[in-house]
Symmetry: D2
Subunit: 411 residues, 4 copies
Amino acid sequence: MDFEYNERTQYTLTRIREFMDEHIYPNEESYFRQLEAPGTDRWQVPTVIEELKEKARKAGLWNLFLPGSERGGGFTNLEYAPMCEAMGRVSFAPEVFNCSAPDTGNMEVLERYGSEAQKKRWLEPLLAGEIRSAFAMTEPDVASSDATNIRTEIRREGDEYVINGRKWWTSGILDPRCKLIILMGRTNPEAPSHVQQSQVLVDRDTPGITVERNLSVFGYDDAPHGHGEVRFENVRVPTSNIILGEGRGFEIAQGRLGPGRIHHCMRAIGVAERALEMMCKRLLTREAFGKKIADHSVWEERVANARIEIECARLLTLKAAYMMDTVGNKVARAEIAMIKVKAPIMALQVIDDAIQAHGGAGVTTDFGLAAAYAAVRTLRLADGPDEVHRRTIARLEYRKVQTRSEKKAAE
Amino acid sequence: MDFEYNERTQYTLTRIREFMDEHIYPNEESYFRQLEAPGTDRWQVPTVIEELKEKARKAGLWNLFLPGSERGGGFTNLEYAPMCEAMGRVSFAPEVFNCSAPDTGNMEVLERYGSEAQKKRWLEPLLAGEIRSAFAMTEPDVASSDATNIRTEIRREGDEYVINGRKWWTSGILDPRCKLIILMGRTNPEAPSHVQQSQVLVDRDTPGITVERNLSVFGYDDAPHGHGEVRFENVRVPTSNIILGEGRGFEIAQGRLGPGRIHHCMRAIGVAERALEMMCKRLLTREAFGKKIADHSVWEERVANARIEIECARLLTLKAAYMMDTVGNKVARAEIAMIKVKAPIMALQVIDDAIQAHGGAGVTTDFGLAAAYAAVRTLRLADGPDEVHRRTIARLEYRKVQTRSEKKAAE
Amino acid sequence: MDFEYNERTQYTLTRIREFMDEHIYPNEESYFRQLEAPGTDRWQVPTVIEELKEKARKAGLWNLFLPGSERGGGFTNLEYAPMCEAMGRVSFAPEVFNCSAPDTGNMEVLERYGSEAQKKRWLEPLLAGEIRSAFAMTEPDVASSDATNIRTEIRREGDEYVINGRKWWTSGILDPRCKLIILMGRTNPEAPSHVQQSQVLVDRDTPGITVERNLSVFGYDDAPHGHGEVRFENVRVPTSNIILGEGRGFEIAQGRLGPGRIHHCMRAIGVAERALEMMCKRLLTREAFGKKIADHSVWEERVANARIEIECARLLTLKAAYMMDTVGNKVARAEIAMIKVKAPIMALQVIDDAIQAHGGAGVTTDFGLAAAYAAVRTLRLADGPDEVHRRTIARLEYRKVQTRSEKKAAE
Amino acid sequence: MDFEYNERTQYTLTRIREFMDEHIYPNEESYFRQLEAPGTDRWQVPTVIEELKEKARKAGLWNLFLPGSERGGGFTNLEYAPMCEAMGRVSFAPEVFNCSAPDTGNMEVLERYGSEAQKKRWLEPLLAGEIRSAFAMTEPDVASSDATNIRTEIRREGDEYVINGRKWWTSGILDPRCKLIILMGRTNPEAPSHVQQSQVLVDRDTPGITVERNLSVFGYDDAPHGHGEVRFENVRVPTSNIILGEGRGFEIAQGRLGPGRIHHCMRAIGVAERALEMMCKRLLTREAFGKKIADHSVWEERVANARIEIECARLLTLKAAYMMDTVGNKVARAEIAMIKVKAPIMALQVIDDAIQAHGGAGVTTDFGLAAAYAAVRTLRLADGPDEVHRRTIARLEYRKVQTRSEKKAAE
């Protein structure tokens, strides 16, 4: 047992932090200024992003994810996790390093399950940061916590699939650079429920795709990426666009979700760390009732609890990453479920306390805290709500007790 | 002791509810559609509002606040409180009945402390719903929890006051109908701290007033009213615009805040009631893992706790209103502080659970839950943060113990 | 709506408080000293109790419960509730006023459902405080949350019932003055589940009753009353000892539980009030890090929250009592369930904070706080665990929503 | 970074678990039966303990603590921690392995700071398990959270120290095998506050030592060890009994407390693990409302949260142990403070839920849950209350922010 990041992790982590200090933090303001400039199309990408991407790429801080592949940074999940945290401190930073969702998940899928032709056409430009992508899974009309409910139809007609259905929370689809959608839907409605679904690659420009609206999160539109509610009406793609083959949608989804949860959780921890830092700064600089607010013990309690829970969530997430690397996603599923519950709830509490520490400034845009709260709040719903993950954890716990008592009975 | 609303309360309450059923709920969608119509100036008032105001006025459901005055509905705080809750269920409903903040507080101030000329000029059109108003107290550069920190300068020059300073959270100032600002500032910087501040009436159109920006709340701009950050630069008003006289700012603020807190809390309870209703509806209509989500006991727990805490917060708020009516704001200050802490925290929990029950739909605009969360979250900061109110409550509690032991010692 | 206790309540309440000041608090120490005197049988009643009972009786502060009966104090549930709170501040005080569980419940049952002969034999000496009683319902081998599980057999043989079974949490059975057990068991195992159970009166001295052990609560034996685990083996009682008739056990249980819950909750509130008072006193008299602990804001927060939640729980309990008086137990069942959940959880938090404020002294016997915690903790389990009450509340809430939407659909 | 216990830890851990399975669990009942046998002196050690100690000693599972010393098991803090957890599952198990408090702390002190003569006389019989010991630090009359308050006087008279004062929570002093007290007191009242205190070795049989009473924890007397309130009246010890020298009491206390906290926390985690296991078992074996209680989702939530928080607390404690081994107690002080806050609060929640799952059986002695709750509750007070540790953590957090901004300012 060893609690230090290994040398190569520390090396790259240091370089990411230096890059953040030198290039990202100083450009936070200009990013948002460009985005919100009056008269600008809200759905254009601020130019500063592409400039920063160029710098990160030159610095070799690029595609750091993709464990076990030559195309990525060559890091394990455990090694990549703290980098993910570091980038997570600024909302747009992961994109600068070409490590942002949903592209990372889509690239993982293409890398692990894609054909050579699919990789050539989509994975390469994604890895190059030339295009972006979206993932269309959740649907507005069914309880998304149970993926067997997905109803979008992918009907084969000759050498084409014809797609009909409605998706939402298709994040990133409003980004003008988005060229690819990975879509999950039902190819085999008569098959057993776990092999009804498939995933296909859909060119963003295919006729029949209508983004009906952007879904805001709290009051944020999350431009320039957005979250689309999308109608697919007789959208036709060649059969070669299917990933792995018909009926393998769940298998692909499972492979995608494990690393995705680690990434989301580590970014949430980065957000919490930054909120804690802001909270401390604010408390140290304002006075009330004759002394620094920092010295009021009610704030000592909140700061201490924030530190404790951040440490806990980080250690648990790192352990989950370690288990994915060593025993695989399936054995690690309890740990992955645990962090999916723990990290967002922890981060929301820290951010909420930071908001309280900032007074009225906390809910507005001045410190980004309310926006961080909104973003992290969605993590308690996306990729399965808390309730479903707790159910998984509890059932594994019950099984342990049952196995133990069966073993005893057998002795 | 009696837990029924009296007859006149029940009568008016029923009429408000019927009005809501008939006119408000059916117009919720059109209000937001008008507000968000592409090509529309964001800061114009949807026409439906003025139509609804006209209806409410004709129905005699108008100016129901203002206890003890002939100009209001003739209700006590206790009688008005449940009406406030009923209106609070829809964000724009209080305005329809001319019972919305900050106008209500401003009208209370004018009614209780204004001169006849001030009433003539400002109170009458406010009561008629012809103009709206704003209140400029909080400042961005100081800890607003301690009102003695207010720095805006109100300097007398001949028969004018010259105002210089910066305010924020001046809610409603962006509304095109806003014609009056009540501003708190320092007339007597050399006086003892509790008599340094004064309140003056400022015509919105006076030169030197610049709304530098609108402050968003969790991404919401709260158009068409907004929350202004406002610069006052050599703004000149006649000395007759002072309320009560120099140095009486705190006294006026105290008179204003008591009822204001009751109103805010009762509206928050209305919001919580509606969120609970939405939560139940959603849980009853979706299924997961083979049964209605409503029947999963984790949701039974949340629904039950929501019901319990709503009842508690309502009873406590009604008791505070009762005490204001019977023993006055000063004796009731512990109770007022208690509801100011309790009601928003309760409502936030209920709304958050309702968001979770709605899945992705909870954070977007479809059910108004995220917007409700954002609005209620500000109540933990506005009019004194929770921490300051808890301090008040604790100190009164300590005093009770001390008084009791002094009494014993004296025996 | 009116938040004052009426005159007669205030009058009696003041007299109870004066009696407590004069007779109860000054004897707390001697009660426990007598109970714990070395060489004393642990299960003898301290003599001070009977002396105090005599005084209370003479003062007319006796049998204050029993609403609607000439035998009681003539108070409604709402009037009696605050008296219950006042007595609840000291663990043995309710007994002094002949208002302690389970006697109060048993007397209610005899009064409402007993025959004249039953009243003559049992109710009169109970009202006179000459004997005490126990209630045998819960069983160790089944989930007591579902009362249809009760298995103790009451078999008719000629003009006798023969009882066989095992009960536990038969509180008060170890008290040497206990002469009566009211027992619930199954007379009609073939009947529909809600009419299988009956309640019979069992003379404590009947052969076949064995108290197998006393159940401790967090290490406390609760002498001299105790909580028995009791074996009933061919215990024979005359058929005239049945209450109301065969199959009416649930009906009697329902009538008993409503008022019982009000009493328990109000006593728990009394306990919380006293814990808060002790907490404040302690915080005001100790120093750490250069100032009174009371002035550390983390304690201000806990004291304020304690005050808020005590007020909430009290108002809710009073409202439940009011509803029992005005619309009856059945309509008030949501409110009764709510206080059963709210009051103990609230009191446990206040007591736990008081323990923390007292340091090591908090967990020992010096301030009675740990004993209070233990006693209140059982209330989350007795008379139905929290989970069952929350289920009741939630289902009523769902029904409201369903009824409303059915009504709309019908229009 | 590596999350596996190393091979030697796993080896010994497995052997401890096997020993527990074979010898400890099967003797739990007989231990308590012997202790509570009627007619037995409550303060005699059940014979089964000495039999089990003999077995553990022969198995080489003995004195596993004492990192860095030849006298101990040769394990680091990190290696010993999980063993501590394993033993902590049964209240008396640590004693069986001669690894129980306060002996472990006292042995650590003697090993690190004792003279050869002191080691010969006291350490050797302690390591052999022939005698036991106590630690006298906390005093009833002062806020123990601030150790500079300690007032017990250690006055030098010739070649003796004369001790006068009152201590409490002197745990283990009632054990008939207790032969040594390590006492902290003031030798140099005129010196600066951090060098006023010293620690001396006191033979338990020295005249002038009176155990005035045993302090119960909730209702438990914790026989046969107990927690003494002890009067020291002109107790004379030779000056050679001082440890390290006058004025070094704090230094010794610091050296003692770090490992002690790790031990306490890991034992608390063991207690929580066992409570969770019991909870799952119970939930799987009882039914309510037509299905296993385990399948009610409210219990899934509690079980899942228990698993999550246990994992978090364990990882944090292991990290603190790792840091003590690698960078020392001083650098690790934030981590040590964090686990001291986190582990007991976590364990209390898990135990409380387990109590609730067991119904009435939870609060009595049948499953040991209430006793476990009481024992763990003291950990939030002993060795510094939560509030003091949170203060430490917060101040270190503030310092980080300040250092960072000073560094920036300097650049």
